[in-house]
């Protein structure tokens, strides 16, 4: 990885992060009318609205307001929730681990389901098993994640009473138990995407010379598949997850809502419901920064692993 690549990539991240703050700042100003009036309601007097507007700095020119906003962000101040009467940074700090655990568990479930399916399909291309497995993504992509959540809730929580129907428990074991169904729902979204790309990657690898060489050396079929072929599909699998990260992260908003998980997605939705501007603005910002940073991490890892990677499209 060259120093030039690193410098360019970091400059890009700084620019995008700057642009993201402009976008989240602009979001508040897209709202028709005065946010102070919106919060206080139609019965508030003009004096009350004027007071809150001054308090929020809404009477200053826009560039000054933006500079104030970025200044507060740089000090770690993400605003104050009017609804919870608490700093937004603390609320997000509590909610983020829930969302990330759900996502990690979902990715693990997704990989555990996709690898055997992709292996089965790729080793029998054109056979009935392959056709059935290739149909999975087509049916899966059209499923609303929250509908999958409903089905899981009906079967495992309300029907079989195996797992909690919602909430987050109070102990680490309870947390894990509460994350299983949401994790499976996330997996239902990731599996179609993963199976499709893993199958293609595996078919290509199975036709390559090093697999033929391993087979010629007399290694067993299972060993060739698991030790040689599968390992070389890890990078494409991870990159597929990284590319779809934005879609997956966005999907967690709805999934958290179905299972009543106290993650960032639910924070965003309750913020919208209560017209809690600082919460909506900061959660949106945190989601975007999360995507930017994870993508940066993935890119740097590839660049470190593969000298052929260069910046630019």
């Amino acid at each position: 990885m060259s120093a030039r690549y690193l410098a360019l990539r970091l400059a890009q991240v700084v620019f995008v992060a700057f642009g993201v703050t402009v976008a989240t700042f602009g979001l508040l100003h897209l709202v028709p009318g005065n946010p102070a009036r919106t919060l206080l309601g139609v019965h508030a007097t003009a004096g009350e609205v004027a007071y809150l507007s001054r308090e929020w700095g809404l009477t200053k020119p826009l560039p000054v307001q933006y500079a104030d906003y970025v200044g507060r962000l740089l000090h770690g101040d993400l605003g104050t929730s009017v609804y919870y009467q608490a700093p937004v940074a603390g609320l997000i700090g509590h909610a983020l681990p829930v969302t990330l655990s759900m996502l990690a568990l979902g990715a693990a479930f997704g990989i555990a389901a996709s690898v055997p399916l992709a292996l089965l399909a790729a080793t029998r291309p054109g056979r009935p098993a392959d056709h059935v497995i290739r149909a999975v993504p087509m049916a899966g992509l059209g499923m609303p994640p929250f509908w999958v959540g409903f089905i899981l809730l009906i079967v495992f929580a309300l029907g079989l009473h195996l797992l909690p129907a919602g909430g987050y428990g109070s102990t680490p074991a309870g947390h894990l138990e509460s994350l299983i169904l949401p994790g499976l729902t996330v997996a239902a979204v990731t599996t179609p995407i993963l199976v499709r790309s893993l199958r293609l990657a595996l078919i290509e690898v199975l036709g390559s010379e090093f697999v033929a060489a391993a087979t010629a050396r007399g290694l067993s079929r299972a060993r060739v598949l698991l030790r040689h072929a599968l390992r070389s599909t890890a990078v494409p699998a991870v990159s597929v997850l990284a590319v779809n990260l934005g879609y997956l992260l966005g999907g967690t908003v709805v999934i958290e809502n179905v299972f009543g998980l106290p993650g960032v997605g639910n924070l965003l939705l309750t913020g919208i419901l209560n017209r809690d501007f600082d919460v909506v603005q900061s959660v949106t910002l945190v989601y975007a920064l999360l995507v930017v940073l994870i993508n940066l991490g993935a890119d740097l890892a590839y660049a470190a692993l593969d000298p052929r990677v260069v910046l630019g499209r």
Partner: protein
């Protein structure tokens, strides 16, 4: 997949147009997807004929009724006919979903064309804005924009357009970068044609194919987004029937009356399956030609 494949060599004399028509007919995925979509669209279009009841008519004496001759899928928490609501809801979702793909397609293709052909600062500005938009998770930005504009169908259009144009811009820009080195564009330029004329009359017809194929698969995600926003209460407002809003309304009764929330989901899954098959079939068709 019930479509049978014509036996090889059955049409020996056929040439030209009939042969081309036969080729896409042999694409089983495409044909099955089109057939399924035709059935769904037909049922939705003929909703007044297929459902005897008014979808909004409440019958508080017969709430949560099971399936019967009068109510094929039973009634909901307000005694409304689920079957009728399902059909009328499909009208909203299909129309909004298809319409909401057109605007990002047009905007993204236009920006991609400009960025790719003009290059320079136009390209730089468009691509940097694109970088910022893709930093946001799709649903987070859509939800935030709908919040800022207020819930409703108009806001859904604007929000989806503001977020979804990026894929089209990327695809078209990539195609233009390749095409503008080709002979026909160079020739048009050498002949002194104006830049707008080259872009619209010469480049556009040649570079939009991939974007059209992508649009077909994008419709699935767009309809899902419309349904999801409806479920979150940000889309089509009740009591108007819409699949997502129906699922939200049925959610409290998941345990005792699961049909309320799951039946609209089945409709979404079938629609998504039909559109995915069409998208896959078209992509294969496009790759083959």
């Amino acid at each position: 997949m019930t479509v049978t494949q014509p036996a090889a060599g059955q049409r020996p004399a056929a040439a030209g147009r009939p042969a081309r028509r036969a080729r896409w007919l042999r694409n089983k995925t495409l044909v099955a997807g089109l057939a399924l979509l035709a059935v769904i669209a037909g049922m939705v279009a003929c909703a007044p004929l297929l459902a005897a009841r008014n979808p909004d008519q409440q019958d508080l004496l017969h709430v949560f009724a099971g399936p019967s001759a009068a109510h094929p899928l039973g009634t909901d928490d307000l005694g409304r006919d689920i079957w009728a609501r399902l059909l009328y809801a499909g009208r909203a979702d299909l129309v909004i979903g298809f319409a909401a793909v057109l605007a990002p397609f047009a905007l993204g293709s236009a920006l991609g064309l400009l960025a790719g052909y003009l290059g320079g600062w136009v390209d730089a500005v468009i691509m940097r804005v694109l970088d910022i938009v893709v930093a946001f998770p799709f649903y987070v930005l859509v939800i935030a924009v709908v919040f800022a504009l207020g819930a409703g169908v108009g806001s859904i259009f604007i929000a989806i357009t503001a977020v979804a144009w990026v894929s089209y811009a990327r695809i078209v820009r990539g195609e233009v970068l390749v095409a503008k080195r080709l002979g026909y564009v160079q020739a048009a330029r050498a002949a002194g044609l104006s830049t707008p004329r080259i872009m619209l009359r010469h480049l556009a017809p040649n570079v939009l194919g991939q974007a059209v194929v992508y649009a077909m698969s994008d419709i699935v995600l767009t309809i899902l987004a419309v349904v999801t926003l409806g479920y979150l209460g940000l889309g089509v407002q009740p009591p108007a029937p819409e699949w997502g809003a129906m699922m939200q309304a049925g959610e409290p009764y998941l345990g005792l009356h699961p049909a309320l929330a799951t039946a609209p989901g089945v409709a979404v899954v079938l629609t998504g399956l039909a559109l995915s098959m069409i998208g896959d079939g078209l992509a294969a068709e496009f790759a083959a030609s």
